[in-house]
């Protein structure tokens, strides 16, 4: 296999794997911070237990997120050195800011949070988890600033064959960032919330620690509903932005070969034939694509063929149509999982209101399986975002095939791909296994009395030299 395909496979597997853990960290940190806030404000022991119990999942998950994140940052230089040279002036800055502003904050305060239960005052300890939560969100912001530049490059000029930043403010206020960032953060909150509702549902079915898990379920359910709706609204904003900035991706996501009529119908299913450039079968819902694209029930959407013709004029000969089936189906999977999440959330709210949650064993069983929905949704979302942008790596400026490291061989990438994938597989199994164990064990606490010994950085360590 050639080096471009292998490098793409490695990037995809690393990023997808990394992004299993990232949204869960963002979501869980936020929900745990809320739980600990309830503990500090209301003083009820139960909320402290909650923060600690869900904290176990958070910490296991965070560790895997951190270590795969290092690879995430280094792989641009390793596998995509031409890309790094071309965009480093613009793209490097948000990554460096992310490290300085977010990574230091998360990693330091998470240490303080884990080890600080008995060393810090309640309020300072609470502040630590909030700083972790804010850190994870800031981190998302900066990495999405970087990603947005690949989707919709702004705030730069081409100078000496590379992109050079000329407006930092434009870079961070890019329209793309401000549709992508809230969408991702809401999705992450939902990911954390659905893990908690799922595990709580499991424990409620087993009738273990019922009060504890009912309360956990309720807190997470509220967040699941709010963030589920948030995902939908920001997703809608994103699709409107997409029609304007990357019409080809939108057309591919719709399997729309020819320009649509006015109003445009939304394709629910289609049998796409990429060779003949047509759909042999499709199920359409009238008006909806117009609404998705323009928030009104009129307006036509350009098809791939006419965009292709335009791009050939603009960028020269070539194939500017991304893998249509992947883009089309990933978009649908994302939208459907999001929709189901909202319905499950609302139905849960009705059950909870009627105090029938514990009796509804069918619903609870579904909620266990629903843990996977946000993961499927966000993976599909990223596949649509990145595959749908092809053949570009930086839209309109650099193609993926020109971005790879010229000095890294296919053999080397094959080796690293196998090595990393193996590690990912092991980590996935271990993480899942530990999650199940922690869940089974439930919120039991054993705590020895903490005995603090002497201060090594005081007189004892430095001895008479300090006096």
């Amino acid at each position: 296999m050639d080096v471009v395909i292998l490098s793409r496979l490695q990037f995809a597997s690393t990023t997808i794997f990394h992004f299993i853990f990232v949204p869960l960290s963002i979501g869980l940190a936020f929900i745990i911070a809320i739980m600990e806030t309830l503990y500090v404000v209301k003083g009820k022991e139960q909320y402290r237990k909650m923060a600690k119990f869900w904290g176990h999942f958070f910490l296991i998950n965070f560790a895997v997120g951190v270590v795969t994140g290092i690879l995430q940052e280094f792989q641009f230089g390793m596998n995509w050195s031409n890309y790094s040279r071309f965009v480093g002036d613009v793209f490097g800055a948000p990554l460096a800011v992310e490290a300085l502003l977010a990574f230091f904050m998360e990693s330091t305060f998470i240490g303080l949070w884990i080890f600080g239960w008995n060393r810090l005052s309640k309020k300072v300890h609470l502040l630590c988890i909030w700083l972790v939560s804010i850190g994870t969100i800031i981190s998302a912001f900066w990495i999405l600033v970087a990603n947005s530049f690949m989707q919709y490059p702004v705030g730069f000029e081409i100078n000496g064959g590379r992109a050079e930043m000329n407006d930092f403010f434009e870079l961070i206020t890019s329209g793309q960032v401000w549709v992508e960032f809230p969408h991702t953060v809401f999705g992450s909150f939902a990911t954390g919330a659905f893990l908690i509702t799922g595990i709580s549902a499991w424990k409620l079915l087993k009738k273990q620690d019922t009060a504890f898990f009912k309360k956990s379920f309720h807190i997470a359910l509220i967040i699941a509903i709010i963030s589920g709706l948030g995902v939908a609204f920001t997703g809608h904003a994103q699709s409107q932005f997409l029609v304007k900035t990357q019409p080809m991706k939108m057309a591919a996501a719709e399997g729309l070969w020819e320009d649509s009529g006015d109003p445009a119908a939304w394709t629910l299913f289609a049998n796409i034939d990429t060779d003949k450039k047509e759909n042999s079968f499709e199920v359409n819902i009238p008006y909806i694509l117009s609404y998705l694209s323009y928030s009104k029930f009129s307006g036509s959407v350009e098809g791939m063929k006419s965009i292709q013709a335009k791009y050939e004029e603009l960028y020269g000969e070539g194939n500017y149509i991304p893998p249509v089936k992947t883009t089309f189906w990933s978009f649908r999977i994302m939208v459907f999982t999001g929709g189901i999440m909202i319905l499950l959330g609302l139905y849960g709210a009705i059950l909870a209101k009627r105090k029938k949650l514990e009796q509804s064993s069918k619903y609870l069983k579904i909620m266990i399986a629903a843990i996977s929905l946000p993961f499927i949704g966000s993976t599909a979302g990223w596949i649509m975002t990145e595959i749908g942008r092809q053949p570009w790596v930086v839209f309109g400026f650099m193609q993926t095939q020109d971005a790879v490291s010229p000095n890294v061989t296919a053999g080397q990438v094959l080796f690293s791909l196998i090595a990393f994938s193996t590690i990912y597989l092991i980590l996935a199994i271990v993480t899942a296994y530990l999650f199940i164990r922690v869940a089974k064990k439930g919120p039991v606490e054993k705590q020895k009395d903490v005995k603090l010994t002497t201060d090594p950085f005081g007189e004892e360590g430095y001895g008479s030299y300090v006096k």
Binding site: G77, G92, A96, L100, T108, N159, T453
Partner: protein
Amino acid sequence: MVHMLNEVWFILITVLFVGFLFLEGFDFGVGMAMRFVAKTPGERRVLINTIGPVWDGNEVWLITAGGAMFAAFPHWYATLFSGLYLPLVIMLLLLIGRGVAFEFRSKLKNQKWRNTWDWTIFISSLLNPFLWGVVFAAFLMGLPIDSEMNIYASISHYITPYTLIGGVAITLLCFLHGLYFITLKTTGDLQSRARELAKKIVVAVGISLIVFVIASYFHTDIFTVRGTILVPIYALVVVAVVLAGMFTRKQRDGWAFTMTGITIALTVVSVFVGLFPRVMVSSIDSAFNLTIYNAASGPYSLKVMTIVAVTLIPFVLGYQIWSYYVFRKRISEEEHLEY
């Protein structure tokens, strides 16, 4: 004046690598001590918990160094990371294993499980500083960088007797630094064993650093380029190592730790001083060297980044120091250990 920010960023990246090897240096040393100092599972656990709250924050210094290289010197980042692809893959695999090992090891009460992760920590802590030593030595020695700034290197280009000496020197230095950290964070048997071992390792560190400096004279051009600054730096390194040895004998552990810290800082500084204004030396033609000028981002980007860094770094230092202050106490098996 035009290029002042290039120099600022070269210094900042030096500082980040100093921070990384100073902080993660003792983490690595503690990891190595798991096999050389600790004798029982309980002692190993104590050792891991001495760095428990801080290792992650320490590792971020490396990630930030990588991010800063990408932002300020994209060509340096691209050339280095693609050129040393395989060593970096190994390094990343080791860092991945080590990071999760801390979190995973105590999640099961099974001794086999713990041993697996403890070995992961040990091997990773041993090989990581070794690889950094190799990379730093390769920086100084030069790598086959062509006119397009790409390195087409085989293993024999970066694994040479000279880079191996660099690897051994940095590994020993981190080990010693970690041993001193242990003397500061533990009590009793563990502490005195670390101290006894440090008395021997400090000699090995002195010898390996001197050998490295002599080898640098033959394998690199740093003495011809920057001899007048480097000689005093190396003299200070020797003084610091000798003082470290003396302080250990007098059981002034805090001072001994300070001395290895100074040694690490000076060693990293000497590498970057030897390079300046180059960031990567081409062994093919000096015209192909990467410098802080031809590898850098434009002035606008550097200016923005400088403002961001100058604003944020004081906060980062502030809360990291505070975190060390919170966890200043020694730890022992009698207390509750998280990891």
